[in-house]
Symmetry: C2
């Protein structure tokens, strides 16, 4: 069976077997149980995570203790508190598992090394970063211009499988509506 | 006087004179008057713009004709409808000048060429894209977690010069509040 990281990388650019082995050797594999944390607020963020299987959520707890959800991420996605990771400062966000999750961890030193050693990896990461930037800009526009029903319908359309896997309470937190409003929207 | 593009690039990585001349030769210089459009909704987006001087706004007009502002950009920033630019599709956003503005235009073909020909440029663009992605994520968090007063105070703190240069009506559209609410916040 094809390595999921290789399949993922080669959606952007092809690698020789030797190049891929070199890239792959910079990752470490880890398994987390549902409810475990990958990133905790106030701690350092040593890794960016490529998700092999499972589902995680990136969240922020405000001063009043209310939880806000920035994003969900599943198989074939990258996730981390990227601000803290890129600047090697302490996390302001939390990343935890909604399902048992298997990841490939890339340390910041190895992220920089892969970029320096292999132009292809710099190219790959730039394509991913541009995609992430565009997705974030779409979310800004959605928050500025749509109501809860429209946001719910966008999620249904873009990520139909999320609806089956994410508890309703968390989906409501992601949409910025109450649990009761969500029930009304999804009925 | 140092070239503003070179100063900007060398905040990330140093270039030899020959390398910089090569990079610079891929840009074309253009001047726009206040109120002119760089990007119009429904048209193709041939360029990403490095702003040498001036001030532009990136906006979106919703189905009801209401204008929303995604961002302002001034000297030393890049701006475009990046989704349309990266995918070479038609613009969903508009980019227009709030002041007379001078830009360096980079076509999509030259953007790709610089990335392929010069690993340093791929590195530079990845650093900028990561920065843009982080800034967009901060804006999402701000829209999810703060009220109008807090968002106004964030702008005052992060971009004090914007307050002097941006008309109050547009600042209100950026913050997602009415002109009257903004007057109350800024008094």
């Amino acid at each position: 069976m094809a390595n999921p990281l290789r399949t993922h990388l080669e959606k952007v650019v092809a690698f020789t077997d030797a190049e891929f082995e070199f890239v792959h050797s910079h990752f470490t594999r880890r398994r987390y149980k549902k409810h475990q944390f990958l990133v905790q607020e106030g701690e350092l963020v040593p890794y960016a995570y490529f998700i092999v299987s499972g589902l995680v959520k990136l969240g922020y707890t405000d001063a009043a203790g209310k939880q806000h959800i920035i994003s969900f991420a599943m198989e074939d996605w990258w996730e981390s508190d990227f601000q803290a990771f890129y600047t090697q400062t302490r996390a302001t966000l939390t990343l935890d598992c909604l399902e048992d999750t298997e990841v490939l961890c890339l340390s910041f030193a190895n992220y920089q090394k892969l970029r320096t050693d292999l132009h292809k990896m710099e190219h790959f990461f730039l394509e991913k970063s541009n995609g992430g930037h565009i997705a974030a800009q779409r979310r800004i526009l959605s928050l500025l211009t749509t109501n809860a029903r429209e946001r719910y319908e966008q999620v249904v359309q873009q990520f139909p499988s999320l609806l089956q896997r994410v508890p309703k309470t968390l989906l409501a937190a992601y949409l910025g509506v109450s649990r009761e409003t969500l029930s009304r929207l999804s009925s």
